[in-house]
Amino acid sequence: MALSESTAAPRLYLSAQTRWRPAEIVFWLATLLPYFLFPNYLSLASQIAIAALFALSLDLILGYAGIVSLGHAAFFGIGAYSAGLLSKYGWGEPLSGLIIAAFAAGVVGYATSFVICRFRHLALIMLTLGFGLLLAELANTLGWLTGGMDGLQGIHTWKLLGTFAFDLYGRAAYAYALAVLFVLFLFARRLIHSPFGLSLRGIRENFVRMPAIGAPSRAHIRTIYTIAACIAGVAGALLAQTTETVSLDSLGFERSAEVVVMLVLGGAGRLYGGLVGATVYMIARDQFSGVVPQYWYFWIGILLVAVVVFLPNGVLGGLAQLAAHWSRK
């Protein structure tokens, strides 16, 4: 075997992993379907896109770095309130609103990451939970700023790029949310396939080994936590801008728990897991929307138990196993 052959092979193999698979292209083309098949459901479609983006941000820390966070909605809420307040006090331009929301969530994410990176296991879960609850209480207490239980009023989103107005049918809203989702997805995809992404997987696979190969795990964790916070903030801002409301449940525990469910349902650590999980969850919730909240939580509970017992790697994991099974026959 010629030298160039044997050294080219590993590079080729690794770069093959970054190529777009047909299923991915189909997936993204399918996101355009709502315009043609479900024109009355475009506002639901925007909600799904927003939830998918939120779940994607959680996947970066949970699926790739192994950080179990029960308080990720804190960043979603910060983004939502930032964009909402910005609009309420006179600046309703959507794109710059997103950037400012990302920045606000990122700053808080960066600050808390210094604490987060030092802990593992139960202490880490508790800290994320604690931060989330703390922020939710704070938002409640600062009712004069956040609108408290009534939510933030007076948000008005300006036209996108000066031309597209957000109408009641949600056409512009969906295009907007979908575009933002796609752009940030590309960003996340690139990150995952970078050396940094490999480090994150190393941290998830074997945290203890990382210092032994000279890896500054804490610095890595701080970086990804901040990035995930920024993206969650963008998702929250999208919600504020497209629905023109922000309420306390955007940063409550239920939302943090919900996004974990969505991600796990789809399959963490697979980049598309959050997207798939969010889609399934939001559609199911919409279908059962007539149902009283308690019963909804009953079925979610059953679902969680079932997923953990039967489908530990989520829907995508189950599909991957099926695919592997078939390819062996």
Binding site: R118, M126, Q294, V305, V308
Partner: protein, 287 residues
Amino acid sequence: MLPPIFGVLFDGLAYGMLLFLLSVGQSVTLGMMNFINLAHCSFAMLGGYLTVALMSRYGWPFFATLPCAFIVAAVVSVAFERTLFRRLYRAAELDQVLLTIGIVFISVAVAAYVFGTDQQPLQLPPYLRSSLTFMGIRFAVYRLILVGLALLITLALVVGLEFTRFGARVRAAVDNERMARGLGIDVDRTFAITFALGSGLAGLGGALAIEIVGLDPSFAFTYLVYVLIVVSVGGLGSISGSFAAAIVLGISDVAGKYYIPQLGAFLIYLVMINLLMWRPLGLLGKR
């Protein structure tokens, strides 16, 4: 005449004792098998609702319902442990968190379905609703009994842990599970019994909590947070740690709400975060 702070301290102590009863089981089982059971307060809620049902539908006296709450919660927890939890002892933390959160969701939905979402009224006999006045401070009889009962139980636990063979096995398993197995200790059985005891105590705590903090389906969530705070601050596997943490948190919470009401609700989170940062393994943690 004592200044009112003593009243606040006493109320804080009573609340802390309640938190201790709710948390001690969680602390020991977490310390032993590292199994994160977020459904712990569902068992507490079960005890509470059982007490309400027995008293209102069958006219049982309050004190008769307490052992029932303990036993039923213990038995039901064993059923869950045998069927579901057992599979996840070696699983990833996330899986344990998700499974047990799922059970919490289910329990909350069932409680709402059967009992409705309102606060459960509890008809206690008049002597339990009265209070004694001592040196100018009012001590509610109920809280006095709660503190007394909790202290008795704590004593029983400590004595049991230090002086019985079972207690020795528990201590060994918490200290070093692998070594304990190697010594021939049936850790799984020890764990199952400890788990049952802990859940039973939670059920008892749930029953006792009704008069102090009320009972509605959100109990399983709200108090889960407090229990987790007590456990992570007090240290896994440590009874004395849970005791200390519960008292600190109970008093902080009551005093906070009394003296600085705007800050009150999240003082407890601030305290937890700071304590965890100072001592991530808890005040007296073994792991």
